[in-house]
């Protein structure tokens, strides 16, 4: 029977949500196509992780070894390529995360299997698998197929599939020994560091006014600060604003920043890249101000204002102040 591999991502003893999301999609496809789901876990001291997913797969293959304590793309690649060669899974799913984006391309070269990254859906049409993905930051969608290969590797975008359990499975657990005899450690893990520490905690704010690259110049950020102040809200931002050092990292919303859950999220001059929006998905409502009517943010926002922010933001601020004066 055909098999789907799901590579478990975990960090500091905890399963990452992307693992559950991949297991959901794998489970759905397996149900439809009568495939089996095999998850592979590499790491050390993995009991609680295994417990968490044992009812979501048909098979769990575990490599538990001190040498696997930290993620290392090369070691993962060596072990997984051996396993893939042996079992020939039709699909191998990997998270499109920082680690997955390093693992998948080298695994693809090593195994010779085709790779589609950052997939938002996997479909089975006319006897072949099609990966759905986005280009141009979400302005274009594409369907990708795989030449002359029955097997392929896919990395899956975080947050597109539910984390729920699908179907009823009871995994057979297979413990394997560390299979590599020599590992020329090319890369040594040193430590994790917190890069987004700061005094303001945007994850607790009820109202966020978030500024993006559309603001143009550093000095214009005062415009956003003034609006936030008038509203009694807190300023946050998209990544380019942090990259330019205009605001500190702890104010960044998104996959590489913070996840926020305000009642209202006002996004000004932000295009709506998924890496940004995934951090704002907990918001009660999203109001977007953008001069490009085709900006992807209008697809996910609840309310939209299509206008030049330099025209509309001062008016919003004045109106709010007027109202407060009574």
């Amino acid at each position: 029977m055909s098999e789907i591999f799901v590579i478990v991502e975990h960090r500091l003893g905890e399963i990452r949500d992307i693992t559950f999301e991949m297991l959901w999609k794998a489970g759905e496809l397996a149900q439809k196509l009568s495939y089996t789901v095999t998850t592979i876990i590499l790491g050390h001291e993995l009991n609680s992780i295994v417990d968490n997913i044992s009812d979501r797969a048909d098979k769990i293959i575990i490599f538990d070894d001190e040498r696997l304590k930290n993620f290392n793309a090369d070691i993962y690649k060596e072990i997984l390529s051996g396993l893939i060669e042996e079992s020939k899974p039709t699909l191998t799913l990997i998270g499109n995360t920082s680690w997955g984006m390093e693992l998948a391309p080298c695994l693809s070269v090593k195994t010779g299997l085709p790779l589609a990254t950052d997939c938002i859906d996997i479909m089975f049409k006319d006897d072949k698998f099609i990966a759905q993905r986005q280009m141009f930051n979400g302005k274009i969608f594409s369907n990708v197929s795989f030449a002359e290969s029955k097997e392929c590797l896919l990395t899956i975008r975080s947050g597109v599939f539910p984390k729920d359990k699908i179907g009823d499975r009871q995994a057979e657990i297979i413990q394997k020994d560390f299979p590599l005899t020599d590992i020329p450690l090319k890369k040594n893990f040193i430590e994790f560091v917190e890069t987004a520490a700061g005094d303001v905690d945007i994850s607790q704010a009820e109202l966020l006014v978030s500024v993006g690259r559309g603001i143009g110049e550093e000095e214009n950020i005062s415009l956003i600060k003034e609006l936030a102040e008038a509203l009694g809200g807190v300023v946050s931002c998209s990544r380019p604003i942090v990259d330019k050092n205009w605001l500190p990292k702890h104010l960044q919303v998104g996959t590489s920043g913070k996840s926020v859950s305000p009642k209202v999220y006002i996004a000004v001059g932000i295009s709506g890249a998924f890496q940004h929006m995934s951090g704002a998905s907990g918001a009660g409502i999203i109001i977007a101000v953008n001069k490009d009517p085709k900006a992807p943010i209008f697809r996910t926002a609840d309310y939209g204002i299509v206008d030049d922010l330099f025209k509309i933001v001062p008016v919003l601020k004045e109106k709010v102040l007027e109202l407060k004066k009574g």
């Binding site: 080298c106 085709p114 990254t117 274009i140 369907n143 609840d302």
Partner: protein
């Protein structure tokens, strides 16, 4: 410190209505403006910073047609010493693996301690080429890097993980590193600077020079179709004059209980 940086020219898609081409395999590009891929801009800057500190050379490479030389000239103006373009009239016939093979062929004959690519390109958003090159070249690698320090023949790198966590590791050189935005502040390039850099060497190679056959480059992933995003309900638009928009805005906030 000899550093090779792979760069790409990508279209600007802000505020334009993208149009799908007749074959439904890509978008029409003739009306679009192009820039150096944002991630690559940071990669070039990082190479130049390291060169300024440790000496050595910086070589910028791209795969593409004559128009794509624009990003090489920009890289030269920023401080790269020389540039190489691999002549390919239409890169869309290759997938990321093909491009990674072409670039690897160029890099393998260059002296280098470090190879940089951007984490991903703003057009296809694949994020594959860099790490595939490392595997092709059997080189050490680090992904999504936001800081690099050189310590006795090794690079101490910070890789960005999700949720504001960084992972520090030590890798032996030579190594391939994919550069994440924000690692530095790319310098400004003037038109005059670009004109001056015209004197620097820009070498053109073709696939035959590199000894790569078309078969080796045949794509493993195939774009079946590209299309505009499926319609969604989308945002409810606030329209009218700014005063009307502002009062609707305030009404929404009041309903949500965030306006006293």
């Amino acid at each position: 410190m000899d550093i090779v940086v792979c760069v790409k020219r990508v279209p600007l898609t802000e505020e334009v209505d993208l149009v799908i081409d007749e074959q439904k395999k890509g978008i029409k590009k003739d009306q679009l403006a192009f820039i150096l891929n944002d991630w690559d801009n940071y990669a070039i800057e990082e190479a130049i910073i390291l060169k300024e500190k440790y000496g050595g050379t910086v070589v910028a490479i791209t795969v593409g047609n004559e128009d794509d030389e624009e990003v090489l000239r920009r890289s030269l103006a920023m401080g790269a010493d020389r540039a190489i373009r691999v002549e390919v009239s239409d890169i869309s016939r290759f997938d990321s693996l093909g491009i990674s093979k072409i670039l690897s062929c160029v890099v393998k004959d260059l002296p280098c301690d470090l190879v940089f690519t951007g984490v991903l390109a703003d057009d296809d958003n694949c994020g594959i080429v860099g790490i595939m090159m490392a595997e092709n070249l059997n080189m050490n690698h680090a992904n999504m890097v936001t800081a690099i320090e050189i310590e006795d023949g090794k690079a101490r790198v910070t890789s960005e993980l999700e949720g504001g966590l960084g992972e520090i590791s030590l890798i032996d050189l030579p190594a391939l590193i994919t550069i994440q935005t924000g690692i530095n502040e790319p310098r400004y390039v003037s038109i005059l600077g670009i004109r001056k850099a015209a004197k620097k060497e820009l070498k053109i190679m073709n696939l035959a020079d590199l000894g790569i056959s078309d078969e080796e480059l045949s794509p493993k992933t195939i774009i079946e179709e590209v299309y505009l995003p499926p319609e969604t309900e989308g945002a409810q638009m606030l329209t009218g004059d700014p005063d009307k928009i502002a009062s609707d805005f305030i009404e929404i906030l009041t309903k949500k209980g965030v306006m006293e």
